[in-house]
């Protein structure tokens, strides 16, 4: 029988009540007394030299409080990058300044040039039209291949627009080259992993407030990690000490990576609120989000997979051009490198792997991590190439995968790309997916499609991801400029109810419910007695926030550690009350007992005693019952699984319709199955969006063509099917206390290759071997035409 609360229960989400009644508090729902409004004037050209910015007329316009340009911000630092990559020659990456407002040059459409602060947003926007811009347009650098071939430079001091030229693992190169040269068969695939816009439904927003009587700054912002923003902005941009800076990330309407980063608008409103002496509110409209939120993916890759005569993988060689955009966003450099290169073994025992990644500056919006970040790129390369290889050597794609899977008894498994998988069972999730997909009935379904003039295709993809990022010492060695632990404080209040303060941030994941389930399970209390506090640096311990499917594996583990400390201290208090030895006290079901006796004290008595310590072991303990832990994981976690997609393609129009989609995942232990399934559904739709509909496109002048929902095709309800998902294959993580692996990104990682493999399968009989994402009707039709000729 399913549990009705605690770990394993599908507890209903407590946060839903406020969201369903219109009482969520998103940043735009917050208004500060006497607030002003900021409007950012942004570049309409992709690349240009700023000769002059005339602000006098705007400053004199009705309602205008002030107009700012870069010269007003002299002394402020640039928006910092949080990860340094060292290139293969031992040189640090090129890290040009990313100013809050453009200095001397504009480098992408949307680059902010000036800000008008006014009594109303309309007045600010009206006045911005009076700003006189004298900008000489320069040739735009858009295509990555052209960018590294010389010519125009995004940054004058970055030759060939090359941020870094990185390899992984350099010592493998000679052996990989040799294996490929001598292989029985080599499958080669060139592909483009399309550029995406994260498009959390809540546009970014920020409110700056300054209290001069206390010299205290407050920033309300749409962030996945308020402490990270406080650290980056306080220490590197505005030189505000942390104790004078509070960052609040209230209800946040989705992130998907795009709200990890520190953005110029946050720094501006924080700084300018002091400059004008009034609160300043900025809310992006969606068009602004399209040209100012960090975008995702945009990798151009060549993959070579060498096999022996039996189809055993011998070596994998990849080379990638990774688009950084015009400036380095907070975590941009780690995406094509350590979040990508370390995953190139996938689920397979490929012994030799080498990749080269060139990161390139272009006159486009900065690119950074987006749901999956590096891992979808790795998975897409591997899984599309395996599919092509299977066709080339005439082996069933499922069989080829099975033949090369890391054996179930081989864990822990050391890959040739540095990471060690702790647990996994790739055959189990493959078996499960195959069973769910009813492959036995496939031929009949294919015939039925053919009878309607449609071509049916079946696509399989297996994936692994490294999440729960990450051991601080490891990522530090790889270039991270931060630790990646998580913190939690558990406070037992005097009457026994519990407040948990977590550094993780919930913006859709349901932490307020799942974290309470974990605590309730451990303390044997009602979930309702546990409250989860997050998102405010003034309330929570220093924490690193939510991304990389890390909240339960890292943030949850920190909570577990704190609860363990609470229980240990509670036992000591109980031992004192029962006049027993600490070591004889047991704790279960909310009760402290002494082994072999009928002595017992309940939770509430211990909690009250901690705060009313009249009868208390003062010689051994301090009063109170509150514990903090900083949990630094020992390893990444490695969720894995297999997805199978069935499509029907209309060869006349090129339209792809998904007929079914099954997902079998191994997430380790699961705290709330309902929420886990919801995360998978969302990830699948996002991956399907990348594969089927979404595409961020610039023209050769650097104008963003997909600049609104009129041209950027977000997946709608009719574009996706109901999904069949399963998480019953469980190999618990061995190195965190909950045995959990993380589930937030899996769907977005495994689904694009499954879908594209299915479409190519449907069209293989016509001679189609590859279609780049998105497999939109126009592209599918064009691929069919090209194959005909």
């Amino acid at each position: 029988m399913p549990k009705d609360q605690g770990i394993g229960a599908s507890s209903k989400r407590r946060e839903d009540v406020r969201f369903l009644t219109g009482r969520g508090q998103y940043t735009d729902d917050i208004n500060r007394p006497n607030q002003t409004y900021a409007y950012f004037l942004r570049s309409q050209v992709a690349h240009g030299k700023i000769n002059a910015i005339g602000t006098a007329a705007a400053a004199a316009a009705p309602g205008v409080v002030a107009v700012f340009t870069a010269k007003d911000l002299e002394g402020a630092g640039g928006v910092p990058c949080g990860w340094q990559v060292t290139d293969r020659n031992g040189e640090p990456m090129k890290e040009p300044k990313h100013p809050i407002l453009a200095e001397g040059k504009v480098r992408h459409v949307g680059d902010p040039i000036a800000v008008v602060v006014a009594e109303s947003l309309n007045q600010a926007r009206d006045a911005a039209e009076l700003i006189e811009l004298d900008i000489d347009e320069l040739p735009a650098v858009i295509d990555m291949r052209a960018a590294i071939a010389g010519g125009a430079l995004v940054h004058d001091d970055v030759p060939n627009n090359l941020c870094f030229d990185w390899e992984f693992i350099g010592d493998n190169k000679a052996a990989v080259d040799e294996a490929i040269a001598g292989a029985h068969h080599v499958t080669t695939l060139e592909l483009y992993n399309n550029r995406l816009v994260a498009n959390a439904m809540e546009p970014r927003a920020a409110i700056g407030d300054y209290d001069s009587s206390r010299d205290e700054h407050t920033l309300y912002t749409t962030s996945q990690n308020p402490h990270v923003i406080r650290l980056l902005m306080g220490a590197f941009v505005l030189s505000i000490p942390e104790h004078k800076l509070r960052v609040v990330a209230p209800d946040v309407g989705g992130g998907f990576g795009s709200k990890i980063y520190h953005y110029a608008e946050e720094a501006f409103v924080t700084w300018a609120a002091k400059a004008v002496g009034r609160p300043i509110k900025w809310v992006a409209d969606r068009s602004e989000s399209f040209m100012s939120d960090a975008q995702g993916r945009d990798h151009l890759t060549k993959v070579e997979l060498a096999m022996d005569a039996e189809g055993n993988f011998l070596a994998l060689r990849c080379s990638t051009l990774a688009n950084m955009g015009a400036y380095l966003s907070t975590f941009a450099p780690c995406v094509p490198t350590y979040l990508h290169g370390t995953l190139l073994a996938g689920n397979y025992k490929t012994p030799l792997i080498y990749t080269n990644v060139k990161a390139v500056f272009t006159n486009t919006v900065p690119v950074d991590a987006y749901r999956g970040a590096g891992r979808p790129e790795a998975t897409f390369q591997i899984e599309r190439t395996i599919d092509k290889a299977a066709r080339e050597i005439g082996v069933d794609p499922i069989e080829l995968r099975r033949r090369n899977f890391i054996a179930t008894d081989a864990f822990p498994y050391q890959t040739p790309v540095a990471v060690q998988y702790d647990t996994g069972n790739y055959h189990a999730t493959m078996d499960k997916a195959v069973a769910m997909a009813d492959l036995g009935g496939y031929e009949a379904r294919k015939a039925a499609s053919a009878a309607k003039g449609k071509r049916r295709g079946l696509g399989v993809a297996s994936y692994i991801e490294a999440c729960g990022i990450a051991p601080s010492s490891l990522v530090g060695a790889l270039g991270a400029r931060a630790g990646l632990y998580e913190a939690a404080t558990v406070r037992v209040n005097p009457t026994g109810n519990i407040s948990v303060f977590t550094g993780s941030h919930s913006h859709g994941q349901g932490h307020e419910t799942t974290f309470a389930q974990v605590v309730a399970e451990m303390l044997g209390c009602d979930e309702g007695a546990v409250d989860i506090v997050h998102g405010d640096t003034a309330r929570i311990p220093f924490g690193m926030g939510t991304y990389g499917s890390r909240s339960l594996a890292v943030g949850g583990s920190a909570i577990v550690r704190s609860v363990e400390k609470i229980i240990a201290k509670g036992k000591k208090i109980a031992a004192h009350l029962m006049e027993a030895s600490d070591t004889d006290v047991n704790f279960a079901n909310g009760k402290f007992t002494v082994a072999g006796t009928d002595k017992a004290v309940d939770w509430g008595t211990v909690a009250l005693t901690a705060y009313v310590p009249h009868n208390f072991p003062h010689d051994k303990l301090e009063p109170g019952l509150e514990e903090t832990s900083f949990y630094d994981p020992a390893n990444f976690t490695y969720p894995a699984g297999t997805y199978i997609c069935e499509v029907e393609v209309d060869p006349d129009t090129g339209r792809v319709e998904i007929q079914s989609f099954v997902a079998a995942d191994d997430f380790g232990n699961v705290v709330n199955p309902m929420i886990v399934e919801g995360q998978v559904h969302g990830g699948l739709a996002q991956g399907i969006g990348q594969a089927l509909t979404e595409n961020c496109v610039y023209n050769s002048d650097g104008q963003l063509l997909s600049a609104s929902y009129m041209d950027y095709a977000m997946p709608r309800a009719g574009d996706v099917p109901s999904f069949a998902v399963d998480h019953s294959c469980v190999t618990p993580c061995t190195h965190n206390p909950l045995g959990v692996k993380g589930c937030g990104e899996a769907g977005a990682i495994g689904s694009p290759p499954a879908l594209v493999n299915a479409v190519v399968d449907a069209l293989a009989g016509l001679g189609v071997t590859h279609i780049d994402m998105p497999v939109s009707p126009g592209r599918v039709w064009a691929a069919i035409q090209a194959a005909k000729h």
Partner: protein, 156 residues
């Protein structure tokens, strides 16, 4: 500035608005009903869906002045009189039909209009109806399930 009067969630309200004031601005800024959200500027996302005279509309694409005399319903008016969740709201919670919650008010208001017109919609009809509402979190699976569940509890 013209003044407008309308009924919002059963209460008479009035205010001064500019010609350009959108219904969603009037609701959020003047009436402080911030449950209605703005997620785009091209009338696609549906986070701002409310009912005007019983029909779902995008409040970002209707002028406040054009709603003079109208009856408007928003997410804040969807709960039962005792404050408990209404049938559709409850179905969304029961079926995990929301994650970040930002698109949710629009989804609920859109679903309410659908169920009024079609008390027992098929999955395909629900998915087709939702083409004016974009969700980035749920993959729509549980939204569809929530609306089906709401239809069932309403006897559809």
């Amino acid at each position: 500035m013209p003044s407008v009067s309308m009924t919002v969630n059963g209460k008479s309200v009035s205010g001064e608005v500019e010609g350009r004031t959108l219904l969603v601005q009037f609701l959020r800024e003047d009436l402080k009903l911030t449950g209605t959200h703005v997620g785009c500027d091209t009338s696609q996302c549906g986070a701002c869906v409310v009912h005007v005279n019983g029909e779902s509309v995008k409040a970002c694409t209707v002028l406040a002045a054009a709603c003079d005399g109208a009856s408007v319903a928003t997410i804040e008016g969807m709960a039962n009189a005792d404050g408990s969740l209404g049938v559709i709201q409850q179905a969304f919670q029961d079926n995990h039909g929301l994650q970040c919650g930002f698109c949710t008010p629009g989804m609920v208001m859109s679903a309410a209009d659908l169920l009024k017109r079609n008390p027992s919609p098929s999955e395909a009809e629900i998915r087709h109806w939702l083409e004016g509402n974009i969700c980035r979190c749920t993959g729509y699976h549980n939204i569809v399930k929530s609306i089906q569940a709401a239809a069932a509890s309403m006897g559809g």
